[in-house]
Structures are given as C-alpha cells and as structure tokens.
Symmetry: C2
Subunit: 341 residues, 2 copies
C-alpha cells in the first residue's frame, strides 16, 4: 500500500448504545491508529455526535465528522437501504468507501443491512458469487479458528462453500501471518463419504483448490486449534456462532444458581470467580471486534449490535488491518489466477 494516511469510517449511529460506545471505542483506538498513520471519521448526525462527545468529555479535534441526516435501524429491511435511506450514516459510509474517500467502514448496526448495502454499493469482486462473513473462535491452543460463512448465506451450493474457503484462507493468512492456513470442511464425520449433498460435492472441489485442505472436520474440532479455517453454510455457521456466544451466559447463570443454594457455595464461588474470569478472558467475543464482509470491492467491517467500547476499538483496528493488507485485492488476484487455468 501507499504511504498515504488511511481513513477509517465508523457508523456513529450503529450499535445498541450509539453513539456513546462508538465515541468511547474510537477514542480508545485513536493513539494506536494514529501511530499506524490512520485517522477516524464519524458518520452520523453531527449535532448528536458533538453533544454526546461533550457529555463523555471526548475531544473531537483529532476526528473528522461526515454528517448524515438519517439512521438505519434494526427494523429496516436490509435490501431497502440502497433505495430508501441514501442519506443514512450507513449508506454514506459505504458510498465513501466506493469513491475511495475513506479506506474502510465499520458499523455495529443492522447486520443484514450492512451486508446488503455493502454488496450492492461496492459490488462483488470478479469471480465471487456470494460475499461471506467469517468469524473467529477462540481455541485451546490460542490460535483462533475462522468459521465462514457465519450467517450471510443460508442456502449454499458447493461452489459457494469453495469461495468461502478461498476468501477465508486469504483473510486468515493476512490477519494471523500464517502462510498456508489449514482448511477443514465442517461435517458430521471425517469420512469423505459423509455429509449432506452440498458438502459431498464440495469435498473434491476443495481437494483440487490449491488450498491447504485437510478434509472434513466436526463440531468438536472448531475450538481445538487443530484447524485454521472451517468452512460451512451460513445457516449452520450462524447457529453454531450464536450457540457459542451463549456459553459464557450459560456458565454465568449456572454459577449464579449454584451460589444461591447456600452461603458456603457463595463463598466458594467468590473464591473461584476471578480465576475463572482470567481463564476465560480470550473466550470473550468482544476481543475479536467485528467481522469483514469478504468478497466485495472494499473494506467493510460488521460488528455486534451489543458492541462495547472495547469491541468498537478492536473493530476499528481490524478495519485498519484489512484495509492495509488489501485483502479485497488479494482475493481478486487469487480468483483471477484460478480462472486462467
């Protein structure tokens, strides 16, 4: 990439706690991004942003603001934004990526709207039939696993799963520095003869893909750290992701219930809790920030509606990583080479 300063756009009106968490997270990311020669631009209603910043005591001198009249809500139909909300912070943020005024755009707003608007406005990379979102899972070894697709595409054919594998590998490699990440096909058994129609057809495609395909993997392999990129349809991926996200809540509920049973239990839990918290620190999903929409011409990062300031900070840093590494460009190059054969 050039040495020009990168601009990372953020939807100030995006998440459930917007614009407060967006402002706090951006403020936390400022020093680190500044050192990397990146600046942050807020998209949203300027007066709301300024009022909120004043209340939170956040100086805005080192940020820029791109005013947007409208806000996309969770109730907006994903496909409607490009037609009906062209002056929203989300639409304008993505549009600015298209015209290369900014280098990336992040939002903790309506996920479906981000995917649909990102795909329509930026367009698909040549050779990509369906953009995908991949999400990182923590593992025993500490090397994260990327699960893709995590919910963008519920009905998938073999060629879509192959594309997810290609995009996921390139993304994983750029973000972790691991050159030839291993790719596993999520399935109900290890044998190539197992699985539903889509995965049965995908297996030979992955064998011939030039990727570091290690065969089928099962649900139990996602968090062992034995495989880097796990490929699945977005229906399965979304359900596994949401199930995984609930584990910490379930554990917390279980521990609370146990503590309530007696004073002695309460003391035991109070003693054990700080240790458990340290152990589980990297199982906390907010550490991973948002997920990129892979396969579109530009860098778009989608965050959880409940994103905390820390999650927002990590999302902005992830955006800088993805933009700097020019992952869209690398996906395009890889696919172009493939189609030559």
């Amino acid at each position: 990439m050039s040495n020009r300063r990168l601009v990372i756009g953020i939807d100030a009106m995006g998440g459930d706690h917007a614009p407060e968490n967006e402002l706090l997270g951006a403020y936390q990311a400022l020093e680190q991004l500044d050192k990397r020669n990146c600046s942050i631009r807020f998209f949203g209603q300027e007066n709301v942003i300024r009022q909120s910043a004043e209340k939170l005591n956040i100086p805005l001198e080192r940020f820029s603001i791109h005013h947007a009249d409208e806000t996309v809500t969770m109730h907006d139909e994903p496909s409607s934004i490009v037609k009906k909300k062209r002056t929203s912070s989300m639409y304008l943020g993505i549009e600015q990526v298209r015209v290369k005024e900014t280098d990336a755009f992040v939002s903790a707003g309506n996920t479906g709207a981000m995917m649909a608007t990102g795909t329509v406005v930026l367009g698909r990379i040549k050779g990509v039939s369906r953009p995908t979102i991949g999400t990182f899972f923590p593992t025993i070894t500490g090397t994260p696993t990327l699960l893709t697709d995590a919910g963008a595409n519920v009905d998938c054919k073999a060629r879509h799963l192959l594309e997810f594998a290609i995009m996921g590998s390139i993304y994983y490699s750029e973000v972790t520095g691991i050159e030839k990440p291993t790719v596993g096909l999520l399935n109900v058994g290890e044998e190539p003869t197992k699985g539903n129609e889509a995965v049965l057809e995908t297996y030979p495609l992955l064998q011939e893909s030039g990727l570091n395909f290690i065969g089928n993997v099962e649900g139990r392999d996602i968090m062992t750290g034995d495989v880097h990129v796990v490929v699945c349809d977005g229906f399965t991926g979304n359900i596994v992701l949401k199930f995984a996200e609930s584990i910490i809540t379930v554990l917390r509920g279980k521990i609370g219930g146990y503590a309530e049973r007696s004073t002695w239990n309460k003391i035991k839990v109070a003693t054990a809790l700080p240790t458990l918290r340290s152990v589980l620190k990297d199982m906390d999903y907010q550490q991973y920030g948002g997920v990129p929409l892979l396969g579109v011409n530009g860098t778009v990062i989608i965050g959880h509606g409940k994103s905390t300031p820390v999650a927002i900070k990590n999302m902005l840093i992830r955006a800088a990583d993805v933009a700097e590494a020019n992952i869209s460009g690398k996906i395009e190059t890889f696919l172009a080479k493939r189609s030559e054969h």
Copy 2:
C-alpha cells in the same frame, strides 16, 4: 403397560470399553431396575462376558445372557449389518425386540449401524418417513432441552422436520412429565421470514401441527431453558451437539494452560476447580445416558462409544423409561389421529 417383568437388552460388545463398562454399568443399574420390575439381558460372546465379569468380580446370577458369535465394529458399514452380521450382538439384540422377547435394546456401539439396523429390522411406525435421534442439552434453569434431529438425517425436507417435532414432543413429555412441551424451530433469526428453504416451509406446518409451537429459536436459545424441544436437520444438530460436547474439554484445556503459567496460577486453579466441577456437574453429557431412535416399532437406545459405566447405567434406565411409557405406541396413535383429519 402390563405388570409383566420388562427385559432390557444390552449390547455387551458395544462401546470402546466393552464389555467392562457394559458390565459395570449394568451392575450399577441392577437394583434400581429390579425395583421397577425390569431385568437385564446381555447380548454378546458368552465366554468373553463371563471372563470379564469374573475379573471385575460381578456376579452374573441376576442377569441373563444371549450368546452372539459376532461383534459389530466401528468400521462396519451401517447398512451391511442386516445382510452380513446376523449373528452379531447388535443384530440379535434388535431382532429380539422385534419378536418381543425383550422390551428394549441399548448399545454404545456403531451409531450408524444401530440406526440402520433398528430401522430395517423393527420397521418405521406408520406415518413416519424418517426415524430420528434426539439428544438432551443441559440448561441454565435445569429443565433440559431436547434437540432433534441430532444426526440421523443430514438432508431434511419440511415434512421430516415436522415429524421430528411430533416425535420429540411426545418423547419429551413422557420423559419429563411436562404435558405440552414448547417446540422451537432452530433458525438464524426469530422472524418467520428468515431461514433456509427447509425451515421456511416448516414454519407453517408447525403452526398447524397442534403442537405447542413457539416460533423460531436461535443457537443462543438452546441452553437457556426457555424452549423444551428444538427442531433442526441432522446436519446442523450433529454439528451443534459435537460442538457442545467439546466445551468441557476446551474449558479443561484452557484451565490447564492457565495453571501452567505460574505456581500462583496453579494454586488459584486448585482452589477454584472443585467449585467449577460442582457447578458444571449437570453439563456432563454422560448424565443423560443414550438417546432413543424415535419412529421405529420398538425401543432402541443408542449410546456414545466412550460411554462410562455411569452413562451405561443411565442408558439402561432411560431404556426402561421409554419402554414403560410405550413411546412408540404413543407416536403411532398421534400420527394416526392426524391422518384422520
């Protein structure tokens, strides 16, 4: 049911630690089953069973043995048993259920072989196009959730998912005593307009089913205790199940890694561990024993290959529950009433 003594058959050659764990588990279940007027019959090589029992100091007077020359292994093709291994403990155990010499059969052996052999030998209940296996998940509230299908059917259409919901509801109700268990359709969002093709078609069928259908549920709802029966295809179900089963291993790995980092950490973990163990006790899958193959004419319970003696014990008790409740008969009655309309 009649007052006649029930006979529960068990594949003595089934699991990874057969016949030891089978003998130990059966011995543990003996008193409880005897009080319920049930006896236990081993299927397997008589000399192997007798030698092993002697070594383990288990008296065999109160058990019966049905000799079987052959053993089904994990490498046997599931569909091949009915043709090639008719003198195996698995085949004979299921055949004895068919001819009503025994009232149930449990095995921790080859799961696919159990499903295929159970379906072919016992036959499907009228109105059932695909038998299903459902599995219990622990929840925050303590009321378990049944996830069905958990791996028997990887490609499913709407009518299969509807059947799973019916069979799962009847099973859940009989086992827990909850009269009208709630049924949720596992999906990527709560809105009826979300999902892949199969679940979109299933939604209206469940609305008209007469079941206590509460709409779509997401991955995060499986362990909250807010829904009793969660319906999904066996591809998704199997992946979620195996993912869930790996959580305890992942936590153990994480805790081990944390302890290794310093002596102080080691002390902290040693203090916290007993509490954590108590808290997580009911997250232990062996508590739930095996899972029934629902939709066949007879009671067949399938256990995990790694089943411990405790899991085997619980599997035998589950078999008595299912046989006593005449769940196959109740499924048949429900489906017959439906087809009258």
